[in-house]
Symmetry: C2
Subunit: 410 residues, 2 copies
């Protein structure tokens, strides 16, 4: 059982009357379900997660007790791939795409990444924070307790750094998801010479961004950045302590996942056009595969290879890709539904791909499951069945959000 | 313009400062957009829907004024196909299907429609109303102001009638969507002899259900009811004043849409396996095509033929199909997103398919657009852009709901 060591100190928070507790413990029935359970935390850490009958939690006068009234409790979602800092909106581009315009035609009409870059790079830090805060609040209400946020709409170094600072600023605010930042300097192509731009990124860019980011990322795609350019970035970033992520095989097969495996990236993301050989390479290198089924659906194309990734032995994460171009979506519950409906995942696999898979994609060993010693990021649902997260399509099943052992919303 | 006849009497409700008013008026830019607009109602009827500059609404002391603060206002959604009255849940079946179990295998394990029939037929009227009310409330919060509700989980006449009474009971409650009822006696196959069951439906069933329902419906599908059986029902129902609807070409091509055209049905629903010839037949007969893109996504199979329906000249409706087996979803905004992403509709087409298409599928000439003389069912959004309804995936863009000229939620 997950709760065989009752804590010695008084719990600061305890959730009682949990009908189904999804721990993510692989030793019990997937997705690690304990019935009639209790969850206890001391500070930001879980001290007990197991059957009520096995509990010897010390309840002190300061203990906050949350009665789940038989509801299910699951780990807080870790949304491991978002472009959450943006200004300007692209709803007209959404209409153009629906009318059949290609990625290239949209770019020619002033749409695409360039339009977001123009608007976002012109924004002040306060404007960036205000716009992003609203999205982050929606995410928290939908159960996201940790969110990765990329730069990538700046192109100038100053604008890229401002986006990273905006993301980190939000991470210090109360009642918002915990924030992990990623420097994404190779996204859309710059107006300036690409070789000159790349040299700037490798020099001044990485040096300035490294203190503000945990990861580096690149859009490895035909029409964007090629494998050689991306590889130079990822290798150079490693010397600055930034772990690699790769936008790989999204619109075409461009070699990004082999690159991710070669450089030991923490994740390869999208993968809609990945081959079975790519997936075996990711498995061998221990790279987490991040699926973005919202973007896959909006753009059309092949379904996300969830089943194939699992069969190849790759850890799977589900994320929103929240961005103004191809998927404006803050909802991890919807990603769980899409993971089952379109990516071939079983409900238990999809449910764990959202928190535990996301944590793996961010190299975070301290969260994503509800086990003693981990961060107490948990969601009390409005239903007694964890299955409803994916089954109840388009709904928000989250009744209460606990982040770092504290009741924060919604 | 839509608002060239100022009303003579005082408005009872007026919505001012509307950034974009979606009227559905085909004479102005799709989806009938008027900028800087005002919407006024007297009683449950719209008296003015047009530019603020053209307004001469008499504002009386009793007038309720809603300030949209620049937000968009759109027609309330008409969800024209739901199975909202059910008891028992089928989340385990959801897991089985994700694991690859077929419709037939699920039925063999006690799942499928039969399991819902067993639970629902055993419920009291109060139990049915309580379970359904919760779903209807979620629908209203998501902008549905009119909902069609089918029987179909009874099989015994008493149970079918109880479901219709539950639906009608909700229709009389305040702050819930307006309810239209459909008698669906040919849905799952009965335990008893099908011929005997059908004779009962054609005799006692239709006579008893007709006062409680506006429509009759049948599941015309291999493994369910065949064209000849369905045709007998639809023709006999016509003599009782019930207009026909048909579940057609959902899982296979079974001839339901040709039947719908032949009997002059008000709608043919699903249509995932419809041929171009079927669609031409629907157009010629004036049958509305109801697409259920949530169920299409959950079940897999071909995409909903939205573009093909429009090209054939068929009026298209989008609906949730809300049911416990293949699509537990109350969200019409998500159906608009899916209509664009998976059914080939342009955003303006999808937005109007949800209210105006739904109204057509229910033969309701008094709603679905915001034009003088129609029912004032309108949604004040949380955004200035109507495009965001489909563009903002998995969100609820509805800030305020106006039903029959009254502010009712959320």
């Amino acid at each position: 059982m997950t709760g065989d060591r009752p804590p010695g100190e008084a719990a600061t928070l305890v959730v009682v009357n949990i009908g189904q507790l999804v721990t993510g413990d692989p030793r019990v029935r997937a997705p690690g379900v304990v019935e009639d359970a209790v969850l206890a935390a001391s500070g930001d850490r879980i001290t007990y997660a197991g059957p009520a009958s096995g509990l010897e939690v010390a309840i002190g006068p300061e203990t906050i007790e949350v009665d789940a009234h038989g509801a299910a409790v699951i780990p807080g979602f870790v949304d491991a791939h978002t472009h959450l800092v943006w200004l300007g909106e692209r709803s007209e581009e959404y209409a153009l795409r629906a009318a059949g315009a290609s990625y290239e035609e949209i770019a020619e009409k002033g749409g695409g990444i360039r339009s977001t870059v123009a608007a976002t790079a012109a924004g002040t830090l306060d404007e960036l924070i205000t716009a992003t805060r609203e999205r982050a609040r929606r995410m928290l209400r939908l159960g996201t307790t940790t969110v990765e946020i990329k730069s990538g709409y700046g192109q100038s170094l100053a604008a890229e750094l401002r986006q990273l600072r905006a993301a980190r600023g939000l991470g210090t605010e109360p009642d918002l998801p915990d924030v992990v930042t990623t420097y994404l300097p190779l996204h859309g192509l710059p107006d300036s010479d690409r070789a000159v731009y790349l040299e700037g990124v490798l020099g001044e860019g990485l040096a300035a961004a490294a203190p503000l980011a945990g990861f580096v990322d690149c859009f490895c795609e035909i029409g964007a950045w090629d494998v050689a350019e991306c590889e130079r970035l990822l290798v150079a970033a490693g010397a600055h302590g930034l772990r690699a992520k790769v936008h790989a095989e999204q619109r075409t097969h461009s070699g990004g996942s082999a690159l991710a495996a070669r450089v030991g990236a923490v994740s390869a993301d999208h993968l809609d056009h990945a081959t079975d050989g790519d997936l075996r390479g990711l498995a061998a290198a221990g790279v987490t595969g991040v699926l973005l089924p919202g973007a896959s659906m909006v753009l059309g194309g092949p379904p996300p290879p969830g089943r194939r990734l699992l069969e190849a032995g790759v850890t799977v994460a589900l994320a929103t890709d929240c961005n103004p171009g191809t998927c404006w979506c803050e909802s991890m519950p919807l990603m769980v539904s899409l993971g089952v409906a379109t990516a071939g995942l079983a409900p238990a696999e999809a449910l764990l791909a959202a928190p535990a898979g996301g944590a793996a994609a961010l190299g975070l060993g301290d969260r994503g499951r509800l086990l003693p010693g981990l961060r107490c990021d948990a969601l009390v649902l409005d239903t007694s069945r964890w299955l409803d997260v994916g089954y109840h399509l388009g709904a928000n099943p989250v009744a209460q959000v606990i982040a770092a052992g504290r009741l924060v919303g919604p």
